[in-house]
């Protein structure tokens, strides 16, 4: 189950919010960055897992593409960064 912070980060990645607890009423919008509606927020809990899987898959694909372009394996990349 997603947390309220994860859902807000999915819907309003640009930030500009503070949330206390798990309800839409607990959100404080601190500036004019894009906001979500209460309906979007409440629906977001059911959407988060699919969104996160998609994000993780995209990140993995991007990584694989980059490694292929560089012609090295993931372990070799770790070695370079160590």
């Amino acid at each position: 189950m997603a947390t309220s912070g994860e859902v807000l980060e999915m819907l309003c990645l640009a930030g500009g919010w503070i949330i206390v607890g798990d309800t839409f009423e607990g959100i404080t919008w601190t500036d004019e960055r894009p906001r979500c509606t209460k309906a979007e927020f409440e629906a977001g809990f059911a959407q988060y897992d699919a969104w996160k899987s998609k994000q993780d898959a995209k990140a993995a694909a991007d990584k694989a593409t980059l490694l292929a372009k560089l012609g090295i394996t993931a372990d070799e990349a770790k070695l370079l960064l160590s």
Binding site: L13, G16, I18, V20, D22
Partner: protein, 264 residues
């Protein structure tokens, strides 16, 4: 017996002699009090014993006692009893706030200046006067670079302006999300609007876009120099101003704050 003036030729009774002996041996008649009390002249040479559940005061005024007079003060109640300077001055090396089963001797240097010899604190030994604590488990998530309250807060009303406050903070379930490699969390302890301590400056920073969880704890000595209600709380923000950081992130971690007033 309370202090009195004897006259030439006066014959003392056995009861009077017994009472005098008792006073001379450090005892004396005891006046029990159950509420705040203002000392009167007849208290000279006696024991004033407070027994109240709530906080009380024993007030010392001028022009009632002569130089050399003494009054023993005891507190047997659960409430803190504070020896308070009214129109007279009261000086001490210890504490004027007496917890249960503490006491001391009030000695009048002059009719308007008294010394209080705290039997517990002579020598300046410190003692715990009161303890206040609070906890919270409510998740708070902040995606901004503006400080937000973590929900962890406690208020203490110091008995003495000279007291120090030992603040013990455990901020649990601190987390930075994995939405940004620059994400981090800054956490501080404040008294009112005054920063007492920075507990984490860009804490949890890893330079990698992955979630990190940890807890922060710290113990701090503060001197608020007041007897007014004083609120301590923690605040945090995300210096990256995007993505987010959180406290009590799962809504189940229990953060705690403990305030201990230590008498000077």
């Amino acid at each position: 017996m309370s202090k009195q003036t004897f006259t030439t030729g006066q014959v003392l009774t056995a009861a009077q002699m017994t009472s005098l002996q008792q006073t001379a041996m450090g005892g004396g008649s005891t006046t029990a009090k159950v509420a705040s009390y203002v000392l009167v002249a007849a208290d000279a040479g006696t024991v004033v014993q407070m027994n109240a559940a709530g906080a009380t005061t024993i007030t010392v005024n001028t022009a009632l006692f002569a130089a050399g007079d003494t009054v023993q003060i005891q507190n047997v109640g659960a409430g803190v009893c504070t020896v308070t300077a009214g129109t007279a001055t009261v000086s001490t090396a210890g504490s004027l706030a007496l917890s249960q089963y503490e006491g001391g001797q009030l000695y009048f240097n002059t009719t308007s200046a008294a010394l209080f010899f705290d039997l517990v604190q002579s020598g300046g030994t410190q003692k715990i006067i009161q303890v206040v604590s609070a906890t919270t488990s409510a998740a708070v998530v902040n995606s901004t670079s503006t400080y937000a309250d973590t929900g962890l807060t406690a208020t203490i009303t110091p008995t003495l302006a000279t007291s120090t406050i030992l603040v013990m903070v455990s901020q649990m379930g601190c987390s930075k999300s994995g939405a940004s490699a620059a994400n981090a969390m800054t956490l501080k302890l404040v008294r009112g609007a005054t920063t007492v301590a920075l507990m984490a400056d860009e804490g949890l920073y890893s330079g990698v876009a992955s979630q990190l969880k940890a807890s922060f704890a710290g113990n701090y000595i503060d001197s608020p120099a007041t007897t007014s209600a004083t609120t301590y709380k923690t605040q945090f923000f995300n210096p990256n101003n995007v993505a987010s950081c959180a406290v009590q992130v799962s809504g189940t971690e229990k953060s705690s704050i403990i305030l201990i007033e230590v008498g000077a």
